[in-house]
Amino acid sequence: MLIEMMNVSFTYMPNTSLEQLALQSINLGIDEGEFIGLIGPTGSGKSTLVQLLSTLLIPTEGKIIFEGQEIGKDIDPRIIRKEVGLVFQFPESQLFAETVADDVAFGPRNLGLSEEEVDLRVRDSLGSVGLAYERYADRSPFSLSGGEKRLVAIAGILAMKPHVLILDEPITGLDYWGRTRVLRCIDELNRNGMTVIIVAHDMDEIAEYVDRVAVLSEGQIVLDGRPKDVFSQIDYLKDIGLDVPKTVELLMKLRDRGFNVTVESLGMQPAISAILAAVKEK
């Protein structure tokens, strides 16, 4: 096991009138090489959870074990921050340098890499997210459009080549190509061994990529399993404010109208075959 959250709770501003319990008794194990989708309604604790994993927040109760060592006890959180890269929900909270190139270079520079290697990584990761180096390198990150800012923030973390990559709603605000490019890029990184955790609202976009989905509701993990098992809980998910992929919704609705379809498949092609067969049968 790569990371293990053991009985972790987190309270914002404990012992004040504004005290807010955000996570409660979380037990979550993450294996090397997994690609996990973390979903949950507004305020359910997703951003808090990923900030705990990247040690930006420290549990108020329980412990987090990284490669067998307890964070804060056996191992310094600063070491974890080099291993775990987090792309924030709002890119503005991450950008700070005067130029895009400097911003993206910050992470790799901090890892003590040579300037040559840093430059290579900057070009590489800007390319992966679809920002042409010549056009963007010298621009100020603060004068970019919303989606461009997000792409720079993603590139900055990619350039660190972290052991664990965590992205908090990375595709929100990106256009069709941006979403496709970013998802394909992290999928490839995952295929090459990187552990990836992605927080998302749009099930359609991530269902096909992730091999596991964990669902948070009111600070607790309420479902955790393979996407097709989790998304088969359509009523429960709707109940807590979530959605299922559109293919699943369609198959369900067709089944309710008397079509003979199974709601097993998440991807586009299996869904198409299932619908075609059912329509012919009718």
Binding site: G146, T172, H201, M203, L242, L250
Partner: protein, 272 residues
């Protein structure tokens, strides 16, 4: 009515000059529910900021109900008419509690405290944040901040409401209820809504869809008309509503379906 007459806008100058809007001619009519789509960097937020005079055109003119945004004396009135919810709610939060934040605009209008109280309660209820009135806005989750920002705009009772990706961080239930709230406000109170988004599925609610590309309006029409040619939209980076994608796949394997499908329910009906 909001009119943009031959509007161009450049950020920076000389070598750094970026043309964000390029000869835009556009009229947003009273009572419309319009959606603006377009790839990253195509000029959507820049366009939105012109509608309430936050940005003044480099060329051309923006006129809101007869008031030009170039006219300094009219700007206050323009901002009252055109409410704006920004892409990043942090840019909008000013006060240290949610209710003070919402009160800020109405206080500036000089409304009496009773009326302000009423508006706070009303708008917090609309966005489902009534239990957070005394919370500190900076200490909310991303989606909660967006809800507060929307409440703040609604409390001003604007005639026109421009929302710039302001529901993007909400969960599916939250964003669909927020969108139907906007639709209700539009239908029942005649508030004109301009919704900027990357989620093409949201066009189903709109009367009109505008597509921006490289600072120009390349499409303008009812949703089904704009989504008749998918290739061109995909090429520039505008996604296709998921139901329509599925429908197209089904057509490709031989099913006969109309090419106007935008929602799953329409697709289900067409298949039955």
């Amino acid at each position: 009515m909001i009119q943009l007459n031959n509007v161009s806008f450049h950020y920076g100058k000389d070598k750094e000059k970026i043309t964000a809007l390029n000869n835009i001619d556009l009229t947003i009519n009273e009572g419309e529910f319009a959606v603006i789509l377009g790839p990253n960097g195509s000029g959507k937020s820049t366009l939105a900021r012109h509608m309430n005079g936050l940005l003044i055109p480099s060329q051309g003119e923006v006129v809101v109900d007869g008031l030009s945004t170039r006219d300094q004396d009219a700007l206050w009135q323009v901002r009252q008419k055109v409410g704006m919810v920004f892409q990043n709610p942090d840019n909008q939060i000013i006060a240290t509690s949610v209710e003070e934040d919402i009160a800020f605009g109405p206080e500036n209008l000089g409304l009496d405290p009773k009326e302000i109280r009423k508006r706070i309660d009303e708008t917090l209820k609309i966005v489902g944040m009534e239990n957070y009135a005394r919370h500190e806005p900076h200490m909310l989750s991303g989606g909660q901040k967006q809800r507060v920002a929307i409440a703040g705009a609604l409390a001003m009772r604007p005639k026109y409401l421009v929302v710039d990706e302001a529901t993007s961080m909400l969960d599916p239930e939250g964003s669909s209820s927020m969108l139907s709230t906007l639709k209700q406000l539009n239908k029942n109170y005649g508030i004109t809504v301009v919704n900027i988004t990357h989620i093409s599925d949201e066009v189903a609610l709109a009367d009109r869809v505008l597509v921006l590309s490289e600072g120009r309006i390349i499409k303008d029409g009812p949703p089904r008309e704009v989504f008749s040619d998918l290739d061109e939209l995909k090429a520039i980076g505008v996604g296709v509503p998921k139901a329509r994608l599925i429908a197209e796949e089904l057509i490709a394997v031989g099913l006969k379906l109309p090419r106007a499908i935008l929602t799953i329910d329409e697709l289900v009906n067409a298949l039955c």
